[in-house]
């Protein structure tokens, strides 16, 4: 956008160029998922042609129906939901009070707590998977409901490893709410809980929603811990479950990708919901 003299043409050419570039970028990032959809709609006898065809002779929408009989997809979906929903609830339950208190009070050990949260963020479950496995074997010896191969173990691990990001981002959001607002409400006779419910939480809502959706998606997509801790197929989440379509000699690609799309589409929509807070949230959460 040049100043006077450049006329009307220059900005519109620039816009057209940017739009063209944008379309290329969008296509690049969508390409594998478009291929996923095409393969998911390909009749099984057309999958193995040399060279590969860009599009099948007709679209086999029935794949999306028959996939439910080819694998215990409902079971995988249920496991993914149980693990992600409860891990998210646990994170909120644990992170919200900690974040609120840390944002509002200067208590002894506050910096230590923030440092601990930061360090946790550096610990990836993949790096600790041997330790996690051995810990839950040990726990299972004395308390089987939380041992390996249980939902509880997966919920705990997913919650623990997403706690850091959620706490961090919520501390940032709670800190931006002026204390004067809370004070004013309490002078007007609101109870402590009333203030939290009517003033603080609504104002921190973007942070809370971002933390919620982030945790949900991270738990929904988690792979390595589920691969290690969930040994029986009936508690396999989708990420591990869909790999059962990969056989020793033959892969049922069409079903693999119908189930992958069933797993991917809902979380992409969820992610787009928080997109507008994402840019601000990332700054608040990590840069400051």
């Amino acid at each position: 956008m040049r100043s006077a003299g450049a006329g009307l043409r220059a900005p519109s050419i620039r816009k057209a160029l940017l739009t063209g570039l944008g379309a290329l970028v969008a296509f690049f990032f969508m390409a594998p998922y478009i291929q996923m959809l095409i393969t998911a709609l390909t009749p099984s006898k057309e999958l193995y042609t040399v060279p590969a065809q860009y599009l099948p002779s007709h679209l086999e929408f029935f794949n999306f129906v028959s996939v439910w009989e080819k694998a215990p997809l409902w079971g995988y979906l249920r496991s993914s939901l149980i693990i992600s929903v409860f891990a998210t609830l646990l994170v909120l339950l644990v992170a919200m009070p900690a974040a609120y208190y840390t944002a509002r009070y200067r208590y002894r050990g506050r910096l230590l707590f923030l440092l601990l949260v930061l360090i946790t963020q550096m610990f990836a479950p993949t790096a600790l998977v041997i330790g996690i496995y051995r810990e839950f074997v040990t726990i299972g010896d004395t308390f089987p409901p939380a041992g390996i191969n249980t939902y509880l173990s997966l919920i705990l691990v997913n919650a623990a490893f997403n706690l850091a990001f959620s706490t961090w981002i919520m501390v940032a959001y709670f800190s931006t709410i002026p204390v004067e607002l809370e004070e004013a409400a309490s002078i007007d006779g609101a109870s402590r809980l009333g203030v939290l419910r009517r003033i603080t939480l609504p104002l921190a809502l973007p942070g809370i929603i971002t933390a919620t959706i982030f945790t949900f998606i991270a738990a929904w997509n988690e792979f390595v811990v589920a691969l290690t801790l969930a040994q029986s197929p009936d508690i396999h989440p989708l990420t591990v479950g869909v790999t059962t379509f990969i056989g020793q000699y033959r892969v049922e690609w069409q079903y693999l990708f119908t189930s992958s799309l069933i797993a991917i589409v809902p979380v992409v929509i969820l992610f787009i919901v928080i997109e507008k807070w994402l840019v601000g949230g990332l700054t608040a959460g990590s840069i400051k």
Partner: protein, 312 residues
């Protein structure tokens, strides 16, 4: 630190919130608020870390029973493995190339998404897809697209005249497999890094650019002397988080090559997993994990030193 749980400072004093006339609960300080978080961090993050360190000094049987301490035996066996130097070098290449290319491309993408043009929102949404989608599933579709016989990539390269035949086993050949693994790792790393840099770009006040324009600087010149320096904090965060993620990347390699053929596309992370869950050598695997930890810490510290983080 002599601070107590009592709120201090006028701006942070919510003292007015306390209903003073009501009987107070015994003051437990911050514990009821941060206790559950501490419990989860200590119980599920730090315990496994400690357990892993301990296991690396234990003699563990094939069935998982500890048969006592063996000192540095696990580490000695780990480093005696003739495959390890190759795996280590590959891991170094993996982290440097993937993080480096990701950051460079993300700078361009963030600049594009920060500019105003019709359809920008749709491009942002497209960029979100690989971020939201499961990495295992994304890696699996790339594996299918790169299939030696039936893959669409071969067909495209054949149609473009780049390949002489439409058959080429990209992932079966260790020479090309590792490049494609790095490509997919970059593909899934770009969205997050781009968004962090975009957040950084949007926090730069526009009037700085106005002032620069008055002084006659625009385009590349203002990008170099205004945007890049002000983007330093965002770049720092993006690079470090990226390094940790890329170093620990498991699903891409697992879904596309399982580290094969042989161990020729293994990084130290997949090597660690194979040691424990395929070769049942838990002690040596824990030693590998501890070494990994030290290496990633070294990576991050070295990076902070190179970029002189205090200036950021």
């Amino acid at each position: 630190m002599t601070e107590t749980t009592r709120p201090t400072g006028p701006a942070l004093d919510p003292g007015g919130l306390e209903p003073r006339r009501r009987p107070r609960l015994p003051d437990l300080g911050p514990l009821p608020w941060i206790g559950p978080a501490l419990l989860l961090i200590f119980g599920v993050v730090l315990w496994p870390a400690f357990e892993m360190l301990r296991t690396s000094f234990l003699d563990i049987s094939m069935s998982g029973l500890a048969k006592g301490f063996t000192g540095l035996d696990n580490y000695q066996r780990l480093f005696a493995d003739p495959d390890l130097p190759g795996i280590m070098i590959r891991t170094l290449v993996w982290v440097v190339v993937v993080v480096g290319v990701t950051i460079l491309v993300s700078l361009g993408l963030a600049a594009l998404l920060n500019a105003a043009f019709p359809g920008r929102r749709l491009v942002r949404w497209a960029l979100i897809v690989p971020w939201a989608a499961s990495v295992v599933m994304t890696a699996t579709v790339w594996r299918w697209m790169l299939d030696g016989f039936y893959g669409i990539v071969n067909r495209m390269l054949y149609d473009l005249g780049i390949l002489a035949t439409p058959v080429n086993d990209w992932l079966g050949d260790p020479g090309s497999a590792f490049y494609w693994l790095m490509f997919v790792a970059i593909f899934v790393s770009l969205p997050f890094t781009t968004y962090v840099l975009l957040a950084g770009l949007q926090s730069i006040p526009q009037d700085i650019y106005e002032a620069a324009r008055v002084d006659g600087a625009s385009g590349w010149r203002s990008y170099q002397s205004i945007t890049l320096p002000l983007l330093r904090p965002a770049l720092l965060v993006a690079a470090i988080i990226n390094m940790i993620n890329v170093f620990n990347q498991f699903p891409i390699i697992w879904a596309m090559t399982k580290g094969g053929p042989g161990s020729l596309t293994d990084t130290t992370t997949t090597h660690m997993y194979k040691l424990a869950f395929q070769l049942a050598d838990v002690g040596q695997s824990a030693a590998m994990a501890v070494v990994n930890f030290a290496v990633i810490l070294l990576f991050v510290l070295l990076y902070l030193r190179i970029v002189d983080w205090r200036r950021a």
